[in-house]
């Protein structure tokens, strides 16, 4: 498999009066061409910030102290903003979190879609409209949607408009941040399947950020588990669900409610603060397998089986 995007030791910090909030603190990962990669983790673990860092769409007080992002051999973070802007949407596009609320309520969908297309390409209004129509068609929306205002559509449909907007210019990678949060279950299913279609029908690589493990199980090929600004485990969806290695992954999976089993187990303790991550392994204060070394030394993410990496001293690596 070809690597389409590679993130190397990316750090994304926020400046605060109490010091740096290290939301993303040294993440390395590879995205393969044509896959659906899920980024899972609880609120505050840095999963959305990671995507914002990769796409460089953050604003101060957020900044990137170090790290590299390679896309097709180009290092993105050192690109001048004007050049990066040309890559966005055409190559790397984004469906923001809560995107059903990101449309302008007083402008018709048509104008909003075409505005996006025309500011990233040099084509005429008519051509842009055709692109918008075909994008809507690909997510299963009728052409009359163009004539509507956002409030005439339900939240799920607005979200699909945003998915359509993200694929107007036929990008290589779509980053979808919590694409189904806040929707009714039927809409969730529909939109998840639409995201799956982006890959299956158009070959677009999808990176999906979501806190709900059940959605990852549904469409992802691989999953990254994030905790406290770090990746703790990476593996194929089937491996992660059938044989989670990291104690946090185990805990996370047994905390997922399901109609299949009537038991749940939470993870005791509370999520740490990005202002002051715990020493050593960041999960050690809540971990039931804690050893002495976990408090002192930070485990590195290393491959334990082909395609399977974990950052935990239970699997060696002192």
């Amino acid at each position: 498999m070809n690597t389409i995007l590679e993130v190397e030791n990316l750090k994304v910090y926020f400046k605060t009066i109490l010091g740096d909030a290290k939301s993303v603190d040294g993440v390395s990962l590879k995205v393969f061409e044509g896959e659906i990669l899920g980024i899972a983790g609880e609120s505050g673990c840095g999963k959305s910030t990671l995507v914002e860092g990769v796409l460089k769409i953050y604003k101060p007080p957020c900044y990137i102290p170090e790290g590299k992002v390679y896309y097709k051999g180009i290092e993105l973070l050192s690109l001048p903003e004007e050049e990066f802007r040309r890559l966005r949407w055409k190559e790397l596009s984004y469906v923001p979190q809560g995107s059903m609320n990101s449309l302008n309520p007083v402008i018709k969908i048509e104008e909003q879609m075409i505005d996006g297309i025309m500011s990233h390409t040099d084509i005429s209004y008519r051509e842009a409209k055709e692109l918008a129509l075909s994008a809507l068609n690909s997510v299963g929306m009728p052409p009359d949607v163009l004539e509507m205002y956002p409030h005439e559509l339900s939240g799920g449909m607005r979200q699909r408009v945003c998915i359509a907007m993200s694929i107007c210019l036929n990008p290589k990678i779509v980053f979808a941040d919590e694409p189904i949060t806040g929707l009714d279950v039927v809409m969730q299913k529909l939109n998840l399947q639409t995201l799956g279609d982006l890959r299956d029908r158009f070959g677009i690589t999808v990176v999906m950020v979501a806190h709900d493990m059940a959605c990852h199980a549904e469409i992802c090929d691989r999953i990254c588990i994030m905790y406290a600004g770090k990746i703790l485990e990476v593996g194929s969806t089937f491996d992660i669900f059938s044989d989670p290695l990291h104690p946090y992954t185990k805990g996370l999976l047994s905390a997922v409610p399901s109609l299949e089993k009537r038991e749940l187990k939470g993870i005791p303790g509370l999520a740490p603060s990005p202002l002051e991550w715990p020493s050593g392994c960041r999960f050690h204060p809540r971990c039931s397998y804690k050893m002495k070394i976990c408090e002192e030394q930070e485990p590195i993410l290393k491959e334990v089986q082909p395609g399977r990496s974990v950052a935990c001293f239970l699997y060696g690596g002192e």
Binding site: E152, V185, A217, L264
Partner: protein, 325 residues
């Protein structure tokens, strides 16, 4: 019927939208002919519905924040308006709520201790050192360390901690009925289970819970009975296990098959097909007497459009659907 804790008898609620002159004046039927009861034995009853289905209206009616347009709500055999007129304090002591948002219920200017002290003062629970002991005990009961919590301000605590302080407040007051309106939707997965376990514990203390949620999964985890509400109508109800394993109403079936299973070996095999001619958002303003699910139901019959089926008992469940006539 009269020995039940809480009874809704044919309750309807209509909200009026204010408009200019004749234009834009309309009504929204939030609840239609809703009847159910909570038994006098402690139990957890879950009300499951999508956004806009009327869940929160039911919550507000129980708390007495709204009055029903028609029908009656009885608590221990007396109507809620009567309770609030004559025994308001007693009613509030017995019926407590946990809201969805653990960020908005605190006054940011006061330390979090205040919510606990207020409860003690308002309800004359205890005084002096006894009160302090109770506060410590209630915080420990929900798994918080009092020393780390007391004296802090809301912004210094995480959402999970704040929501658990709300739980400790319930533990302190020990109401008879707890109304929990989406209490875990803003908590992390790892904390949800712990929170829900406390609701179960409360049952042992004699506290019934009315658990309002959009999430069938968590309802399945803690509820003894489930009611499914859609667009202001209760469509199906019954013991949790029966409703989940053997759903009767087409809407319940659709809900259950749409929920993703956290197991990659059990991915969806079917696809959702949405009728694009019905794209427009359903405004919720319809006052038709038919089944609210009529437009989306694959088994819809002619009579469903203008008639609402009566409640039918099938096995342990009760369902309102013409398929079971």
């Amino acid at each position: 019927m009269n020995d039940s804790l809480l009874t809704f008898q044919n309750v309807s609620k209509v909200f009026r939208r204010v408009g200019f002159g004749f234009l834009g004046r309309s009504t929204v039927q939030a609840l239609k002919d809703v009847s159910f009861s909570l038994s006098s034995e402690p139990e957890v009853l879950a009300l499951v519905g999508e956004s806009g289905s009327g869940k929160s209206t039911i919550c507000r009616l129980i708390l007495g924040l709204e009055e029903p347009t028609s029908g009656e709500i009885l608590y221990k055999g007396r109507s809620i308006s009567d309770w609030l007129k004559n025994n308001k304090k007693e009613y509030i002591r017995e019926v407590q709520i946990i809201f969805q948002d653990p960020y908005e219920v605190y006054n940011p200017f006061y330390r979090v201790d205040r919510v606990l002290w207020m409860a003690i003062e308002k309800f004359n629970i205890a005084s002096g050192s006894e009160a302090e002991r109770l506060i410590y005990e209630s915080l420990e009961a929900v798994g918080l360390r009092p020393r780390e919590i007391l004296g802090r301000y809301p912004h210094q605590l995480s959402g999970g901690e704040r929501q658990r302080i709300m739980l400790s407040r319930i533990y302190l007051i020990k109401p008879r009925l707890l109304v929990a309106d989406e209490p875990v939707s803003m908590l992390d997965a790892s904390l949800r289970a712990i929170f829900l376990d406390h609701l179960r514990e409360f049952k042992k203390l004699g506290i019934s819970s009315f658990y309002i949620t959009h999430d069938l999964n968590t309802a399945y985890y803690i509820a003894d009975r489930i009611m499914i509400i859609y667009s202001g109508r209760i469509l199906e109800r019954g013991p949790t296990e029966d409703v989940i394993k053997n759903p009767l109403h087409p809407y319940t079936k659709m809900l259950i098959t749409s929920i993703p299973v956290p197991d990659p070996n059990k991915r969806w095999q079917d696809r959702v097909v949405i009728d694009v001619t019905k794209l427009q958002k359903v405004s919720g303003g319809e006052t038709a007497d038919g089944c609210p699910f009529y437009n989306r139901c694959q088994f819809a019959m002619d009579k469903c459009e203008n008639n609402f089926p009566i409640t039918k008992r099938v096995n342990n469940q009760e369902v309102n659907c013409f398929l079971y006539e």
